[in-house]
Assembly symmetry: C2
Homo-oligomer: 577 residues x 2
Amino acid sequence: LDYQHVQVPFEITLWIMLASLAKIGFHLYNKLPSVVPESCLLIFVGLIMGGIIYGLNDRSPPVMDSDIFFLYLLPPIVLDAGYFMPSRPFFENIGTILLYAVVGTIWNVFGIGFSLYGICQVRAFRLQDVSLLHNLLFGSLIAAVDPVAVLAVFEEIHVNEKLHILVFGESLLNDAVTVVLYKLFRSFCEMPTIKSVDVFAGVGKFFVVGLGGVLVGLSFGFTAAFTTRFTKDIRVIEPLFVFLYSYLSYLTAEMFHLSGIVAIIACAMGMKRYVEANISLKSHTTVKYFMKMWSSVSDTLIFIFLGVSTIGENHEWNWPYICFTVIFCLVWRALGVLVLTFFVNRFHVNTITSKDQFIIAYGGLRGAICFSLVFLLPEFHRKKLFIAATTVVILFTVFVQGMTIRPLVDLLAVKRKRESAPTVGEQIHIRFLDHLLAGIEDISGHWGQYYWKDKLEYFNSKYLQKILLREYDQPKSSIVLLYEKLERKHAIELAEAGQLGHGPAHPSLLNDRTVRTDQKLEDTQNPDVLDNMQEILARNLYRIRRTGPAYNRHTLPGESEPSEHAKEILILRHKSL
Amino acid sequence: LDYQHVQVPFEITLWIMLASLAKIGFHLYNKLPSVVPESCLLIFVGLIMGGIIYGLNDRSPPVMDSDIFFLYLLPPIVLDAGYFMPSRPFFENIGTILLYAVVGTIWNVFGIGFSLYGICQVRAFRLQDVSLLHNLLFGSLIAAVDPVAVLAVFEEIHVNEKLHILVFGESLLNDAVTVVLYKLFRSFCEMPTIKSVDVFAGVGKFFVVGLGGVLVGLSFGFTAAFTTRFTKDIRVIEPLFVFLYSYLSYLTAEMFHLSGIVAIIACAMGMKRYVEANISLKSHTTVKYFMKMWSSVSDTLIFIFLGVSTIGENHEWNWPYICFTVIFCLVWRALGVLVLTFFVNRFHVNTITSKDQFIIAYGGLRGAICFSLVFLLPEFHRKKLFIAATTVVILFTVFVQGMTIRPLVDLLAVKRKRESAPTVGEQIHIRFLDHLLAGIEDISGHWGQYYWKDKLEYFNSKYLQKILLREYDQPKSSIVLLYEKLERKHAIELAEAGQLGHGPAHPSLLNDRTVRTDQKLEDTQNPDVLDNMQEILARNLYRIRRTGPAYNRHTLPGESEPSEHAKEILILRHKSL
């Protein structure tokens, strides 16, 4: 037995396997996930695992390594979030989102930091040795809303799109602020004296970190789109580029101390539409599927590790500090949302209702980012207290807030997501109104969002598309494209339901659909199967069918085949109607 | 700048990026890959890269780490090979393949080892210090045909299926023999005296290593199939299980010193048919696509690293030893193939022609496995000579044999792969003959391959399918399944070609196909597009279309939607015909 040799990949594979099996386990009991969010269940599994490891080894189980978290687990989730981000609501509310993410987070950091410092001054609590700077540092890591936790809960409660994008967008974009403040306070902690220059430099850094992330992301995104122009002959490695470039954008941003999360989101949103147009349909299915799979596994691992890391002896318990941390997190967030929304509502026709405000404040869940940041703190004598407080805040928000938010949404009758998407007619109207508003803004000299959107669209079709799209010489109207996409989906669904082939042969099909399902069940009986087969053979044996070559590294079976053949068969069938 | 922090993932990503870009580069010039095999081009890129690194740093570039090769680069390639292995020709020729893989490899190892020892006795060559055991050890690593190199060349020359599977199957299954002999001789080198017991134990190990690998692989494969029974509610992680279980089978086999390659192939072949039936169509596309992508990247990286590792100062040049190694590799393989085929042909009606024998002997390419094994050798004073000889053999086989095999196949007019696959009629006949032969074998009391195949099929449908398949209660005839699969493919192709929607509206479609392509070009003109759109809208606006929810971690857009809607639309269209 040579375990040493395969240890690293073996243990990684086993952890992923455990995570996947846990997911399957929850879904076998349908009732469980509808009451308790999956994130809670996963943390619970992690707690049990941690307890077992602790019991067997008699020492603390290994905590989640911050490097592993930031370098390997976080990027897939953020990439998935950025790639599938609904861009219209995001850009329509970008101002509000930025206000919450930047001003709101700063408000929370300083609010929590200063008020905890106040608590530390109470002599009875024995916390006088925690300085203001340490409290602010703690505030900077505990204030940030966590995208992973928010996603895990909000995707299950189906609130309206605007509310969803406000909380989710904030959780993604506050990364820039968190990175800056956390690093700023940490460097202040190590400095002997703080000059006012340093403070101003810190403020300047906000813009560098945020905008730098956007720039890095966009440049990698456009490079990715440009690269996929040339992959026509080797479809198989197309999906790879999507992952490689987005990961590189994240790593590059991290390397230059910019916001990796912002970079990967910019990269994903920037490349999406061009990559989608360039790569093959199968490649795109693979990209989407793999992104979902990867982010789902990362997410599961994060929550399990969160549970495992909670068990152990790296906590220092101090009732007042921990309780007040939870209270201040709730209070300052609620206050911040109230004040900021007051200003937002003054400048918008479509206001944020008080119910929505409550959900925004209540949905400020903390998660693995805080947890990783607190372990990255430099060693000092109260670090274990901070770890304990962070753990409690995370568990409180994920368990208490996460489990009660769904009943609250029901109770308050918060506006839900509209189930039916816009019809083709509505989509045309929306587009028409966009053009109209852009015109009005242009005439009135007001450079609003429609004006800029129109300019961007013009720039895109005039320059970007020519460079980034492979088949630019045959532009298609977007409605025709949408129609083709829907058509393709229907064709697949029909073929899967067995309609395309068997359908026309049953005269009763068009009149009565209940009969059809009965017939389907009967199909498995012997005589019917024979009939079917005879019919199929009679229809198809008129010419030799081709299938793909036996084995080839670079092509999938049946991929290289000319479709001429298939068309012919269907045309024949249409004729027979 | 904090490069240290992101170094590992950053450099890995960059290497993969380089490999993918190199692949794109070759395919931009269509003429190049048709003359020179891709593997040669990649080694060439690697040599250039190595030269640059050597020039800049003035020291040997890093060699390919054997652990990285065996743990991370080899498994995807073997998994891909096993999963897409055409099982019928493989099992039909399993006896011949095993003979070549086991007896042939042993023949080569001892032939090369002893004759090189003879060369070492010539005083003029100054090689007397290389012992017989060291020569045999060297023989054991240089004798094995490499699956990666064989695949890279044979998939481009399209020889007939039997010839392909003989060479390819041998290259995969000889791993068990190589592992045993290599480890045996290496342990003999470290032993003071060798007892005859050790030799017998070595012979016994063949069976343990090979059959153990098969057992480990099959058990993981069936577990994988069983697991996918329960993934109906979380389709997104289905592809993960295919990868996780096959990788675990490889690692487990390696851990117990069994043949990992044999294990992963058994796992892939065992799970394939059950997994395919259990998982969704999209998951299966993802599995296939990702497997191809991964193996393609691994393969590219291996050849590039092979080139990079060649540059440097870890070679000891000795003309006679190196030249005779190349000659003996060629001669002993040719002799082995001749002798073994003589026996094979005596017991088979369908004999292996002398042309085929030449290609089998000539197609014995060496590759990265030899290279990694030679670096894993224990340190002794002639290791650098072995490294040099191995490098030369690999470069000779990949460049000289790899580049000349295609012209030779043309010149000898070796039977090519039949381009058209069997028709439905032929398939029915093949199946009929299988049953007939199984019956004849049963009556005559001869337990041949058809008898066992029939028994296995019975066992499969009686027990295995009930345990491993999700929807066993509705068994479908395999012809109906095949038909559904073809139908689905056609539907997709048709939809992609825009036939399904636009087709029926053009009356000329059924008569003249050349007109259609002209019309397509005209479609991009303005008035036609408008017509199209009007038509589309008139046809589809009769009811509100639904699209998927805005963002969800676990489902892809449009996946959860009921297909009832889509059917209705198509039925309406059929009516309008």
